[in-house]
């Protein structure tokens, strides 16, 4: 018998980086579902397409850096990055916008700093900010919610994304755009007069915000905190109850 010398603690929880990331992905589900319900399959396509690009990029870069790419992929952090970014992109955004965003997030947001854990900023937000500065028009072209316009089916969605410009755009102003561009109307009038802020559309936005932000408004301030909170919420039904609005 030989004695094994290791330091305390000798017990460890079952936590894994991948389980934290998986929980964050689960936590995005309600928001994604509501986005899809109101705006059609655009967000879903963003997530799937962006995810593929992100995984491929992460794989290539970690291999180039001499790391084991399978380990890097299996912690799921790359999917969290791409998913958070793709949720924030307008549904039916052209494919190249997604590609640029994801590449920026993975390369500039994460890998140049040394990969998982060493990034000073949230990679998804780095990608988002770069896109917002570089392509403001495409980034503010949000689809019209169900009720204001016909929500595209899958075929149209694919065409919107991969052959942009071949069919009519389905965009509308977001509520924040309306508020910003509004010059004359009182807020109450705006609320009652603009279709985007009332009925289905208005409620749609409300629900979307709720689905994401209800986790905790801090998400806006610090994505890291968002990660922590979302994870906790996803795991702990008691917290869900305690913080019900």
């Amino acid at each position: 018998m030989s004695l094994l010398r290791v330091t305390s603690p000798h017990a460890s929880g079952q936590g894994q980086v991948s389980s934290v990331m998986r929980d964050v992905l689960i936590a995005t589900l309600p928001g994604v579902l509501i986005l899809t319900a109101y705006f059609g399959p655009g967000t879903l396509l963003n997530i799937v397409f962006g995810g593929l690009i992100a995984v491929a990029t992460e794989y290539a870069i970690t291999a180039l850096r001499g790391r084991d790419p399978r380990v890097a992929i299996s912690d799921l952090s790359i999917l969290v990055t791409s998913t958070l970014l793709c949720i924030a992109l307008p549904p039916y955004a052209p494919w190249w916008l997604i590609v640029i965003g994801v590449l920026t997030a993975v390369l500039l947001g994460k890998q140049v700093f040394g990969g998982l854990g060493y990034n000073p900023f949230n990679p998804a937000m780095v990608g988002y900010v770069v896109l917002l500065i570089s392509f403001p028009v495409q980034m503010s072209a949000w689809a019209s919610p169900r009720g204001l316009a016909e929500v595209p089916g899958l075929g149209d969605t694919l065409r919107h994304v991969f052959a942009p410009g071949t069919i009519d755009a389905v965009t509308a102003a977001t509520p924040l755009d309306l508020l910003r561009q509004n010059t004359g109307l009182l807020f109450e009038d705006l609320l009652t007069n603009s279709p985007e802020l009332t009925g289905w559309g208005g409620i749609g936005w409300f629900e979307v915000n709720l689905a994401f932000l209800r986790w905790r408004p801090l998400a806006v301030v610090s994505p890291d905190l968002y990660l922590a909170c979302a994870h906790r919420y996803a795991r702990c039904p008691r917290c869900l109850r305690a913080h019900r609005i």
């Binding site: 018998m1 030989s2 004695l3 094994l4 010398r5 290791v6 330091t7 305390s8 603690p9 000798h10 017990a11 460890s12 929880g13 936590g15 894994q16 980086v17 389980s19 934290v20 912690d75 952090s77 040394g114 990969g115 998982l116 854990g117 060493y118 890291d224 905190l225 990660l227 922590a228 994870h231 906790r232």
Partner: protein, 509 residues
């Protein structure tokens, strides 16, 4: 009903306490050889007063306390001293220390003891002396000399004596067993301690996962018909930390860097209370303790009363350790214990548990991954620290920031490392950082000392020179004043004398 407060953080690791069947207490056999380290407590080692070849009786003093921060060591059974030498001891460092080795004779002859039943009439100071002479040091794990704890000084009046029966660490059931089997002694011991401290109230705190211990202690309190409060509180690790249990039961926080006595509380382990009772009422020194032998690598996990100085290997054999290949033997529990590096090392006053887990039971951690700043560690930390920040600063060796983030409030409970999804051995970093800070403080003290010594020497030399000058000046002044008085000049006179002598020599060649 006392309000129970919650502490920040904490975790709920699997308890695994039933494994060692708490409440069922056996005697471990007296081993053929006892190895008694002269330092089983925190502080100055005891000084051996026996010699190789001496025969000793059970309860006889083997080594005397040296000063206040020290307690004596007694023989746990009769036999012959066969060696006084450096032997491996059970310590996280894996180092050896001076030990008195006794070959037992199997007769187990004991000295006769004389106790005091009328301790209420005794002066606290004499009782404290008896406690020191009985070799009692905190049995909870730190081994702090109990006599020192019982002398908080006049500036710290003690209101409450708190018996900490939390035993929050998984696996360990030594205190649970002690509270079940020695409840009456526990209650009386607590009274003696309260009497010594002139404490107004006695509070016994037990975590609610020990219903049997709670029932037996409650029964003992009613039997004694005394005023002792028993408080139970929800199970959570690490509620048993001294600062933690105080906050749970009183809502008060011990100031950072302070001790419980600062807020009028003295906190002892139940084992210490029982040892006190035996020392005072029976006059018996501390020679045995209850040890939990547990882990799935043992075929017969159990709680035993064992002689201090029993080699670890003997107890593991008694509990039927069956392994081949690599095995971890943990002194203490799975959260804060350390891996033993030599099985011949003996158990001491602070050994509450020997844990022999299988590899599936407590798997080794995966290789550490980078910190993802998930914040789980900060949520788990009972001291409300920011473990991930401490981790970054420890890696950067930024001592200023470490102090700023209260590294020394870290109780090394391991809750942060337990929850860390990246499996970072956080506590290891904190321990290393604390060591480095202590080293550099010592370094600074040393250089301060030598600077002070140098300056003192400089000052002394200057003072000596000045004194010499002053003396010379005084002599000169005296001589001059004498000359003035006599109207003669001593120098002139000396010259005259020399001239006269020379002339004399020339006259008589």
């Amino acid at each position: 009903m006392r309000t129970i407060h919650d502490i920040h953080g904490g975790i709920h690791p699997p308890e695994r306490k039933a494994l060692s069947r708490p409440g069922d207490l056996q005697n471990a056999p007296i081993p053929p050889v006892l190895v008694l380290p002269v330092r089983q407590h925190l502080g100055v080692p005891a000084l051996p007063i026996v010699a190789v070849g001496d025969t000793v009786l059970g309860g006889q003093v083997l080594a005397e306390a040296q000063g206040v921060m020290s307690v004596p060591v007694h023989a746990p059974s009769s036999g012959t001293v066969v060696a006084i030498e450096s032997r491996p001891i059970a310590h996280a460092s894996g180092l050896a220390d001076q030990c008195i080795v006794i070959q037992t004779d199997g007769e187990d002859h004991w000295l006769a003891f004389e106790g005091v039943t009328s301790w209420r009439e005794r002066d606290p100071a004499t009782l404290v002396e008896r406690i020191r002479e009985a070799g009692i040091a905190g049995l909870g794990g730190a081994g702090f000399p109990t006599a020192v704890k019982l002398s908080p000084g006049p500036t710290r009046p003690i209101e409450t004596l708190l018996v900490n029966g939390t035993e929050c660490e998984p696996y360990i059931t030594a205190d649970d067993t002690l509270m079940q089997c020695r409840a009456d002694e526990l209650v009386e011991g607590a009274h003696i301690l309260a009497h010594i401290l002139s404490a107004d109230s006695i509070l016994i705190g037990i975590e609610d996962n020990k219903p049997d211990a709670i029932a037996r202690v409650q029964a003992a309190i009613s039997r004694a018909g005394v005023d002792v409060e028993l408080a139970t509180f929800p199970t959570k690790y690490p509620s048993g930390g001294e600062k933690q249990i105080i906050e749970i039961l009183t809502g008060q926080q011990v100031p950072s860097g302070g001790i419980p006595a600062d807020i009028g509380i003295v906190c002892v382990n139940p084992g210490t209370a029982v040892a006190t009772q035996q020392a005072i009422v029976d006059g018996k020194p501390l020679t045995h303790r209850i040890v939990t032998l547990t882990g799935e690598a043992l075929a017969a996990p159990q709680n035993v009363t064992a002689c201090l100085g029993t080699p670890i290997t003997q107890l593991l054999e008694h509990a039927e350790l069956s392994v081949d290949g690599q095995q971890r033997i943990i002194h203490g529990g799975p959260m804060m214990g350390f891996a033993v590096s030599d099985l011949n090392a003996p158990i001491t006053k602070i050994t509450n548990c020997l844990l022999a887990p299988t590899a599936t039971e407590l798997p080794l951690p995966d290789p550490a991954q980078p910190c993802i700043r998930c914040g789980h560690c900060a949520e788990a930390c009972p001291a409300s620290l920011l473990p991930q920040q401490l981790y970054w600063y420890a890696r950067a060796k930024d001592q200023e920031q470490l102090a700023e983030h209260r590294l020394f409030d870290c109780i090394e409970c391991g809750a942060c490392a337990y929850v860390c999804p990246s499996q970072i051995p956080l506590v290891q970093y904190y321990r290393a950082a604390k060591g480095q800070i202590r080293d550099s403080e010592q370094e600074k003290r040393r250089s301060d000392n030598s600077r002070e010594r140098f300056e003192a020497r400089q000052a002394r030399l200057e003072a000596e020179t000045a004194a010499r000058e002053a003396k010379r000046a005084a002599r000169k002044a005296a001589a001059q004043s004498q000359a003035a008085e006599n109207g003669s000049d001593p120098i002139q006179e000396a010259i005259e004398r020399a001239k006269a002598r020379k002339a004399e020599q020339e006259a008589n060649p």
